[in-house]
Symmetry: D2
Subunit: 412 residues, 4 copies
């Protein structure tokens, strides 16, 4: 598990720098060729240059057009080409056809970014659009992670197994080393969700109380070595461990191991952003679907934590490395920055949730069905983007996110 | 909305009569021809004769084979043909190919039923299998409702619009008449789920406490007249009212009205088990998917209730007709017996849920993903089958269940 | 290879008896249950009761309505339900949804047939409609064969392997016994196609001349024993023997043997209309696609004959059993009545072809693309239906026809 | 209709220059960006850089590896990546996934081409490989045309309608100007197919005799103005004009005009390699499928010519501009260089056809089913590639080739 992002990023979560966020997107794309940036390897994946353009479109559409007097769009056709899913701002190019567009090319997209950045520089002094800019930056951070997820999927289709980021430091996240322990929690009435002045997405609010039963949650995420035990014990072939939909998917898709795993001459390897390499047993298992996570938990005679159980147990991102648990359990340092952790909670609105008004209200609310939530953050999550209340979500069959497993259990 | 079931059934929920339940299945199938009973009109639908055989297989497999000494199966091949989804008892005929089997025919299936009933009659004295028999009877009741859902779908494919149950009394459920009012609830810590000695499915347990915010819930379900207002207001064409997956489904499927509705010379009609007929505005809207129910609620500036909100507001089935609300609101008599009511709750395990051990444990637990819960019961639910704690569930796109809408709202 | 048809049929090809042809259809359906007659096991298959109704619709639509004064249709809805593909007579029920219709049932269809037969009996004296009646009878004979092809496919889906025609005499067609020999032909200008007063379909005309090179054609069709040699020699796994489309189809469909073959405990068996039974090596191979026939021929270092080569080599049906070849080669008696024989000729119009005018013109002409022709007839072809000029046709991947292989080779 | 190829090419058909053919491929790709060259817009389309690499692989695999001592492949992985369909030389990357490969990129592909060209330059003196080199050059010419067909399809997906070849001279092919006349032919025994020492593909041989009936063939191809008459007369909505498969395809695909046509504010436009522009009525209609060509011919009360009729009527490519017909009819100059012309002949082997032995034998023979032949050549066919005996072929639904229509009729 390596972190392909520059390590000298030190952005505070509540005050992202426009220049730094925008520059990081370009830095991530820099090692990629024009050909790399063009391909859409499955409907869920977007080409790199589309990510670069769409995040720019977001600022153009929601900030510059309504708020910068006299602003002329870079190209009126981009309103259609780079809209992702906002019905309120008109029609859009079909999502599954993003890989059919060779033009604008990477050079033109870079020019588009500079044009919008220049216009934004004239706007930044204004205070009233600050919330929209902040949303735009957090949005761009999400796409930085998507860009890395997506390009990994693109490159993995190539039998040459190209190493797109060959100089990325192979700094192992030590997350899964050491025996896992249980962090106990007594349950009772707790509160979760975001509150206060710091940035959050609308789906994290309102902060609200709920009632928990006592539970134990694992001090670290599941490792590759543990996953291999599951595989060796017939994990992928035993329907009694799986949800019915999950086993049907695993069967029809031929799943035998996590995505990107391949057994070569008896040894398991994984495809990474730096090419294919042998598995390290201590690494957190990654690129497993919710179906697999759920089956693994059942095999381990545990279950996945709920969102609330996770949130009341996790440290804040900034405190992770210093956390000491009252019961003297040393929680591992993998709540954030290693792998997203599937929860047992379907992605639904919090009680009292109100979507933001206007087109921006389409950001989160309309996806609150058919998905499961994940918590924490991953090695590809940009610095400063993680929050304890952050709610990530994917369909239960999705595997191309950097998703792993933290176990939980009832206390009887 | 008519109730095609015999009205003189008075089975208590906790002591279903084997003879009466089994006889009702045959009574429901009696008006159907051999051809009617053979067809599978979509993968989710099963032929009538399959329902008749599968419910019999359930008693043969889980009661007679393990518990009646010397029992000889009617036909060993049926173990494969009529297994629905129990991996623990072996392979099975593919679900989507149930309509490819002409043999055994309806006469042979009747013979199979009599054979098993006779064997069961020799077993009934024994007490220790009573829970399995009880489960088998509640299972058969579920299939009685499925049988009616499924044959309605089969017959609806036919341009002749055949009336399978021509003598069913057109007794209108008066559910949706009168203005809807709001039943207030103060929230706080409440308990839901089943407890005690009466029969329940494992997914209704354990009874557990949770914390609710104050809310209002409607005294009656949404009517066809109200649904037509939604349609006339562009409800099916306005993406801002829908979940993203919902609008995509509505578009690709060409939804413009609930299932079985058809506009003929300007007037809306519905296909019923007694043929096609004009819509009655006061009837509860039925055969809408969760996607549609959710969009309707958003259009009405309300939301769907959670399972807990529904359960703490509803009367017990036996008390419905006499219920008087403390605040002097007269709740309508449509919590049960009209339409199942979609909730905003995804179908997941209750805290502390344990699936039954053995093959029977596959009954409920393995379906707890990708589905939404419904509460109450419908006009096709057998007498004695409804419970306040009962959890029905279907995928959010399903429309062939007798599903409708009860609204809820936050109290600010 | 058995002939499930009554053997006492002695209809001359040019004067089919209305009563006898119509009665044979009912005789073929008689052993089938109502459930058997309802199922459509794939889009190409039609339910038995649909065949019975559609052939009746043909007489009603093309003979009675235009030619019997005062005729009242049995049910106006049948015009839509039982139209197969005639655009000129209006819309029709989708072909792939014929298996979704339980009504009218088998009893009602029998009543429909009697109603039309009674009306036809009032019309028969009239001479001017004789060509249409003749076409209707040959059309019904085609559907008699389709009915048997289709019900075989339906029953083959059933793990119980039901024997629909248990009393059919297992009279083996001795076609493939004995060593195959070569019938030589010198080539030159020859004529093929139908001419004169006897009935023929429009696709058999006009009779026309063409130029042939010398060739040899086999005295008998390929046997099951020979096919097993091909299989044992890797025939289904060697792409160099196949057309590219053929190998792709064989791979994606998992073909390893002809349709209906199954290896049970090391022995090859076939499913027949009388149930499953061991293969007889001397039987003609049957239920192979054109792709397989073509690959077999290449494997045998031969090729398939063209239509013209077949037609100038074959005896007339009535002469088959007495034929003596000038070169003293005894041609086998399997040109007709065993299996249809794939040719190397795509199904196209003969030079100078004119489709019949009116709706009847849709009978043949609009299918003259994407299909390969077959010649001869099969054990399920009704008596009196075969002709030397007869052109049967199916897509190259079709296997459910009673189709086999006769080899041919160039003479150098 | 413009010819995007350099007009100063003067290669004789029988002695293509290696350097010139190879250089033309690179010249065609030169105006395209790296992004353009990467995209596969449908399974039938290959990315530009794949064409450039595959044609190089052909020389490497079939010429250099067996015939240049000590030759080291540029990259052993390319054997897998750039094999198109030759089973005899091993596995290959799936055809429909060619657009998922970003690496090797366009620069690397150029390097691969130079590497192979350099090796070829060391081999050219050798005489014995001349036939293979010749085949390789004709193969590369075919891919030059495919490259242009494919990139046109790629760019047409883009709402920006990019003009890839903006400087291409808009030289209109004057083919369809003037009234069409009929060229009569008396029929009789004629010979078609290639013979002699000039290069031809194996599917053009052997030359053989056949018997023709008298016929008339049109002096020019069908124009856009004529096609618009067909459209305005309901051509795309009248099933009686179409093959059954054709009308089903036209309906399901929503065909209303030829591919690349779009009606903008009432005027028909076409997308070309130089962008979108208004239709010129005199231009030959192009990008129609065989199904459309066949329907058009039926509408015009004509038919498509057979291969033989076309071949005995057409001039040789070099003679086209000087041809004078004996009956003093001035045949138009559009037999070649405008549009390929669909014939009524399915693509099958000529009598006596023998595929070349070895891997090269897979070049043509295994595609001889499910396709229709076209004759002539198109504006995108490289100079020197056309022959009177040339047999092009595509499935009847294909529209992305530069395919048009020449009519024919029977003489009564």
């Amino acid at each position: 598990m390596t972190r392909p992002l520059p390590s000298n990023q030190t952005l505070p979560a509540d005050a992202l720098s426009y220049q730094e966020v925008r520059a990081l997107t370009e830095a991530l794309a820099a090692p990629l060729t024009a050909e790399d940036q063009t391909i859409q390897s499955m409907p869920d994946v977007s080409p790199t240059k589309w990510h670069r353009a769409h995040t720019t479109w977001f600022f153009e559409t929601f900030v510059l057009e309504p708020h910068l007097a006299g602003y002329e769009p870079y190209d009126p056709a981009y309103r259609y080409l780079f809209n992702s899913y906002y019905n309120a701002v008109g029609d859009r190019h079909p999502r599954n056809q993003r890989g059919l567009l060779s033009r604008p090319g990477v050079t033109e997209v870079a020019s588009y970014r500079r044009y919008v950045d220049e216009a934004m520089s004239r706007l930044l002094a204004t205070d009233e659009v600050q919330p929209l800019i902040s949303l735009g930056l957090h949005h761009e951070q999400q796409h930085q992670e998507l860009l890395l997820m997506d390009i990994k999927h693109v490159l993995a289709q190539n039998p040459l197994a190209p190493a797109a980021f060959p100089i990325a430091p192979p700094r192992a996240v030590t997350a899964a080393s050491g025996a896992s322990q249980w962090l106990p929690h007594d349950g009772g009435i707790v509160s979760i969700g975001a509150q206060g002045d710091d940035f959050c997405f609308d789906n994290e609010s309102p902060r609200h109380a709920l009632l928990l039963r006592p539970f134990d949650i694992a001090t670290r995420v599941v490792s590759c070595a543990e996953w291999i035990e599951f595989m060796d014990d017939g994990g992928y072939r035993r329907p009694e461990l799986w949800m019915s939909d999950g086993f049907a998917t695993a069967t029809s898709e031929g799943w035998r191991a996590p995505l990107y795993w391949e057994q070569i001459e008896g040894e398991w390897t994984i495809f990474t952003l730096s090419g294919r390499r042998p598995i390290t047993g201590n690494d957190p298992v990654c690129h497993v679907s919710w179906y697999e996570a759920d089956a693994y938990a059942r095999w381990a005679r545990c279950r996945l934590p709920t969102e609330a159980e996770w949130e009341v147990s996790a440290p804040d991102p900034g405190e992770e490395r210093h956390a000491v648990h009252p019961d003297n359990v040393a929680p591992n340092r993998d709540w954030y920055g290693a792998v997203w952790q599937w929860t047992g909670s379907p992605y639904v609105a919090y009680p009292g949730y109100k979507a933001t008004t206007g087109a921006i209200g389409e950001y989160n609310g309309k996806f609150m069905v058919n998905q499961m939530t994940l918590r924490g953050s991953a090695c590809v999550t940009p610095p400063g983007h993680a929050r304890r209340t952050y709610r990530n979500f994917f369909p239960p069959a999705a595997r191309w996110a950097f998703s792993g497993v933290r176990l939980c259990r009832d206390v009887n």
